[in-house]
Symmetry: C2
Subunit: 483 residues, 2 copies
């Protein structure tokens, strides 16, 4: 049995683990990075990057199919070559994974260990049957994996998760997507736009990342107009039938339907990879999902020498948060016991559907819990349906809600469905982190004609509701036609 003695062991070489390794190495040379699977991050292999590649193809196909209102007539067939679509997705995905692998190749081989980790004690890790690592401090950065009801395993290789989609050699003819959350909507809409028949089923009526009921309703309606989506579905049976999956469900009109699809895509959530680490061997505190509890500012768990970062922490499962958490956890593991709090930025999340979805700062639910009891906040609103630039581009679908605090006038958060929401979200998230008031935001420059002018209309609405200014009465007198 090989013995390794180090100051810091990082378990997992994904986005959080790499960031933690790098941060720890800035303070101490004695760090190992342990990987149990193959190198390459969730983001690059099966997450952000390949999904954006599929979306890029879907947008191009959709745009080509909707040229007529602009006076552009395609006289012929738009052929979606599934093999070529998936070839580009895989090739570019492989390139992004290659960048990660290259970065790992540059790490000193002495710092890299391969094996599945079990905690023996708080400071002792067993790697398979070949190595024992004595680590004074540990960072858990083991990521997450898709989760779905066990019964679905009966569908065999007809049941797929997002990982599988990006290894397809061709596009299937039909897919039933379970879960109209972030992953389900991005993949489901893309596949639909690439000519795949899509049925999307949810539970409990939730659509996207939203907590604001009006924004969620708008999203539900928008996506339902494009493909079959029942956000509160009654699926009575799913079973293999030859090469297809037979799904029996009650449709939105209350009628029983039987449909056959090539695949069932489970986009029903992800769970942190903390259940096979032997954590039961050490007296670490878990939350009610079985995930070690950690301080979001230090990433320290209830065992002071153990830190956690990234999807494994079950805090905010997003790439940029994993990088930040990894940096905090890695540095603190290195400088322990004199740990410090790290930078946690204002919340931002974007979903790359069309229209796009985004969340900034506090959600409607958080604002309501915090300030709803005293009528201490207001909601500013704008529809993108008649917003000038959105209409020019025929991207005029969407609704934006901004939340602002009575008294202070501070911007609290936003929920958005609309064109270019990823960019609006950055503008708003920076304003949020800068602790700007709605009045200050209205003093900022807005060009014309831009989609950001929709944000301004919502800010004007909110400012008026906060009794800090007037509502927009005549856009032509104040900011130009279609502003």
């Amino acid at each position: 049995m090989k013995q390794v003695n180090v100051q810091v062991a990082v378990i997992g070489a994904g986005s959080a683990g790499l960031s933690a390794y790098r941060a720890a190495k800035q303070t101490t040379d004695s760090v190992v990075l342990i990987e149990g699977g193959t190198y390459g991050t969730t983001c690059a292999r099966v997450g952000c990057m390949p999904s954006k590649l599929l979306i890029a193809a879907a947008e191009v196909a959709h745009s080509a199919a909707h040229t007529e209102p602009f006076g552009i007539v395609i006289d012929g067939q738009i052929n979606i070559d599934g093999k070529k679509v998936m070839q580009r997705v895989r090739d570019e995905r492989d390139r992004f994974v290659g960048l990660v692998v290259d970065a790992i190749d540059e790490i000193d081989p002495q710092d890299k260990l391969i094996g599945n980790v079990k905690f023996l004690t708080e400071t002792q890790l067993q790697l398979d049957d070949h190595t024992t690592v004595n680590a004074q401090r540990v960072v858990i950065a083991t990521g997450s994996r898709p989760t779905y009801p066990n019964a679905w395993d009966d569908l065999g290789d007809k049941l797929i998760v997002n990982d599988d989609v990006f290894d397809w050699q061709d596009l299937p003819s039909s897919v039933a997507v379970f879960g109209p959350g972030v992953i389900g909507l991005e993949l489901g809409q893309s596949l639909h736009r690439l000519g795949v028949e899509v049925l999307m089923f949810g539970m409990g009526g939730k659509v996207g990342p939203f907590t604001d009921p009006e924004i969620m309703d708008y999203a539900e309606k928008t996506f339902s107009d494009e493909f079959y989506l029942d956000a509160d579905a009654k699926v009575n049976n799913m079973q293999l039938n030859g090469e297809l999956v037979e799904i029996t469900y009650i449709d939105k009109q209350g009628k029983e339907q039987i449909k056959h699809v090539e695949y069932v895509l489970a986009a029903t959530g992800r769970r942190p990879n903390v259940d096979n680490l032997g954590l039961e061997q050490i007296a670490i505190d878990f939350d009610d999902r079985g995930v070690p509890v950690a301080d979001p500012h230090t990433m320290q768990t209830s065992i002071s020498s153990i830190f956690i970062a990234g999807d494994a922490s079950n805090q905010v499962p997003l790439l940029h948060e994993a990088a930040d958490q990894g940096k905090i956890a890695g540095r603190n593991a290195a400088i322990y016991p004199n740990i410090v709090t790290g930078l946690r930025r204002s919340a931002i999340a974007a979903v790359f559907t069309d229209p796009q979805l985004a969340m900034v700062g506090l959600s409607y639910q958080q604002v309501t819990e915090k300030l709803g009891g005293c009528d201490c906040f207001e909601t500013g609103s704008v529809s993108f349906e008649n917003q000038g630039r959105s209409r020019v581009m025929l991207k005029n679908k969407g609704l934006l809600h901004l939340y602002g605090e009575q008294g202070t006038g501070r911007f609290l958060g936003a929920e958005i469905i609309g064109p270019q929401a990823e960019h609006l979200a950055h503008l708003l998230a920076w304003a949020h982190q800068n602790r700007m008031t709605i009045s200050q935001m209205l003093e900022m420059p807005f060009y014309h004609p831009v989609i950001e002018e929709g944000v301004r209309t919502a800010l004007r609405d909110l400012n008026a509701k906060l009794k800090l200014g007037s509502a927009m009465t005549s856009e032509c007198m104040e900011c130009g036609p279609g502003c």
Copy 2:
């Protein structure tokens, strides 16, 4: 002769005039709004809005013609129906103009006068031969018009300006565009993408709004790759030849060429409409272009009761600046003599080509004049050619320069050619107006994978050059693949 006595007369019912009228009316009821031509603003009739409509059609046509790399094959012809393209441009343009006219319809008829204005004295205006207006204070908001060499008038109706383009019933087969500035590039590239043969000629090598030589070079190269553009052209002759214009020029290889085009589009600049107002009758101070000098914070001219706003002022000929200037001028005319300074925002300008162009804060030239002598600023740079998200969408063309001050670390300005630059410009302009440092900007949230991550790479580069932080060494360890 009708006599009208008012406290405030606003000359011109365009964007600046409407804003001035509205602001003045908030203080005094005694305001008249005088229009010499037809109602409807430059922005709505012949500027921002119709140009964005033409660009929207061009982008859709361009996207449909470039689907193959994504695996989407159009089996047939992409027909650009010029009549339908122009129909939508005119219909939607008319709708925007209608919004302006509706707003003007709501103004009390007593407040509206029609006529061409001549100053008789500082406080006396003659409208054609029918009305004399005695105005204690005056706001000049007469806009601007295209300007070009007189000799070109020999081309008759084959010489056009941007106004004419938006009244076309169909697309022509060929156009020579003179002036690769903002208007020339937007219209020229759109027409090219809509199947019109475009030749673009400039003088002196300037392309777009840029002052940074590297950014300008990149723009020159990018647009030259798409259509014939000689930014420093030698045109020896232009003359009518039947229904066409014959142009004789020396091409970039030094060879004489003779080409025939359907139209010559003069995009050679605009001049303020202050030359026919009888301003020579009053002792107002002019700049060397014959435009009344005004304080940009009060919009007051050298005659204390006369204010100027919008394109007429020749300060920043942009819609949002016209609205701000109008508001300042109108309010100050109303509260005169106790005038106040008004809000002037950080500079932002965007050009809606592909890639887009943008300017924020101080230009390279302004930064150099202010801080170049002492080596007091640095330039952070990023190319979008390998930026992750840009590459995913095959929009990976562009170059961004950010300028930051040594010592304070403050963000000074930016020049950008790149994808979605209009959105990056808003983020940067808000940061500029918030007087943020580069280090503070790096603390802000960036989602993944987004084009804003390119801005972060440039910020990291700039921060390192300002000796305030480290440069990005391994994106995979710090912010994910393709960040």
